[in-house]
Symmetry: C2
Subunit: 130 residues, 2 copies
Amino acid sequence: MTELITEPLDTGPALCEEGRDLTRDVLERIGDKWSVVVICKLADTTRGFNELRRLSGPISQRMLSATLRRLERDGLVTRTVHNTKPPRVDYALTPRGLSLLGVVRALARWAEENASGILDSRTAFNAEQA
Amino acid sequence: MTELITEPLDTGPALCEEGRDLTRDVLERIGDKWSVVVICKLADTTRGFNELRRLSGPISQRMLSATLRRLERDGLVTRTVHNTKPPRVDYALTPRGLSLLGVVRALARWAEENASGILDSRTAFNAEQA
DNA sequence: CGGCATCCCTTTTGATACTG
DNA sequence: CAGTATCAAAAGGGATGCCG
């Protein structure tokens, strides 16, 4: 029987299986394309949706929305809705998100320090392949 | 409409800058699903392909191969071919890979420490959604 | 303004089969 | 043992439209 395409846009379940390696599961979430960027943008202050979007580079509304929801779900950011005019939604890091920020920054620092060396390696590697 | 990009943030090492494509490029590479796992498996010793595969959990041959080649290309691991019988290829961390290991371990430690808390958050979040 | 839904294309990944 | 090749499925991601 034909299965209708039932909502592949997951925000939710199916990730917390029992036999699964928790650590890797967590790492995957963190390792995605935008989470780290967004977390860094929330480093020192609360931000609104579009503000966050402008700061985070070329991220689509859809992806930012999905990223934020995942971060919220994992207890890394809080989402606060203000019933003002115009409406505003603020995002901020939780203590857990803040603790992740430290680790992420260490990684970022390493990346910066090694970026040029890595690019050199890539160039050399590609040259050898030829 | 005014953009109003307040951009004095950056509380330290600049990872999250928009012009920083190199850093993000490196982060993406490192943040991928398997690189961290493989690097950890090479932490203390040289290992062969299938040995690595067994140790790294449910990784397909294809993915391990691709991951290793990326790591080699970026100068993080060395690949040594032994013309023996049966043939054997050893992978080991380079100094650069070793320097990354420290950072990666911090990330892995964070993931371990926060895994259960994150799962709790997810459960709570899913419950609220209902 | 914030943001979910839909359509649709691109990239990634896993199974399987095959080579040196 | 250590891969590469191929194919199909899945996930990622952009564009657009609608709604509160």
